[in-house]
Amino acid sequence: MSAIFPKWTNRLPLYIIIGVLLAGTAVTAGVWYYCTPKYTRVGYQPIQPVAFSHATHAGQLGIDCRYCHTGVEKSWFSNIPAASTCMNCHNQVLKDDPRLALVRESAASGKPIPWVQIHKLPDFAYFNHSVHVNRGISCVECHGRVDQMEEVVHAKPFSMAFCLECHRQPETKLRPLDKITDLAWQPESHAKQIEFGKRAMKDWKVESLQTCSACHR
């Protein structure tokens, strides 16, 4: 019978076990590392129709986020400014620059600039900007250091776990209301942050909302 099954077949079960273990480990590691919004979304940096630099405007010049995103405190979405807002300055600054041709054209014709949206929640999650920025959550918590971005890049994963991280303990992220658009602001210490956060939760009636209907309706 030895002619039918050569000797190495005795080690076959061992090979199979090693093979399955290796492949299993590799697939698990791959899924863990790649099948997450940290890989599928974070780092998205589309080419925009106009090379607008947040680093120049919000960072270097120090223009407040709300100069352009005027609706963020009143509305559930943070508006992209109309081209006329750009023209408030750019009717004098870089008046004839070809990089701004599209902006001038849009302001004159009313035809919107086709900006590419980067930050998008699923359509079944209802995020409200005004509720967050009026109660001590800074832009930076979800959008990262936009004031340092030459081109905006998707900085945070926007997964449900990412939202819950903060919803489970809002006191770790709340900040004074006059520091909402100060993206560089840091609490003095962790203890101070927790102390302030706990007090703010009480004063502003911030709840740690973890019910489904808080975000999904």
């Binding site: 590799a26 780092g43 600054v93 359509d123």
Partner: protein, 218 residues
Amino acid sequence: MRYFLLIFGVAVVAVMAIAGRRYDDGGSPSRKPPIYIFPDMDRQLKLRPQEPNGFFANGTSSQLPVAGTIAQTKPIMVGNKAVYAFEDSPVNTGKVAGSTNFVEVNPLPITAELLKRGQQRYTISCAPCHGALADGNGITKKVGAMAVVANLHDQRIVGMTDGELFHVITHGRNLMGAYGPNVPTEDRWAIIAYLRALQLSRLGTLEDVPQELRATLK
């Protein structure tokens, strides 16, 4: 076994080489749109603001209101009276009702709260050009980008009525654009109240300071 290990190794290296590192792990940003592994109902057939959308003729989801439309908003409280946005009232127009004359003074009662709001809104919308001190030395002047920025301490502007200031903020003047669309009515009046405080700070004399505080000034 040797072949299996070889193929396995090549496969792992190939996946890592093609997929690259995560951005938060030091990888480079990507021009490609996000990947949906499980699309679920992430994208639904509904209008979201400021999106391209084929439903309307002009191809955008957000439509402009018909010319002359006045949005329904909460009324502005002037004292105890609620003034709605469609009313011909000094709060909405900066003009005396039924005439084209600008109102002399701010129709909103001047409170510490209003001034505080004005300061905040002034810093956001006005200070980039006119400067935190209203002297026309904002950041746009400092970087040499803008040639003409009004010094709001000019006699010409100090002498304007509050109503005219409201008109200028709302509709713009000369090179300054209209801020009516970006700054809500109440905030415009708050900004004017705060601007008056800034102007007063330059025009004040020693006599305006209470006797007991004069010694603290240098």
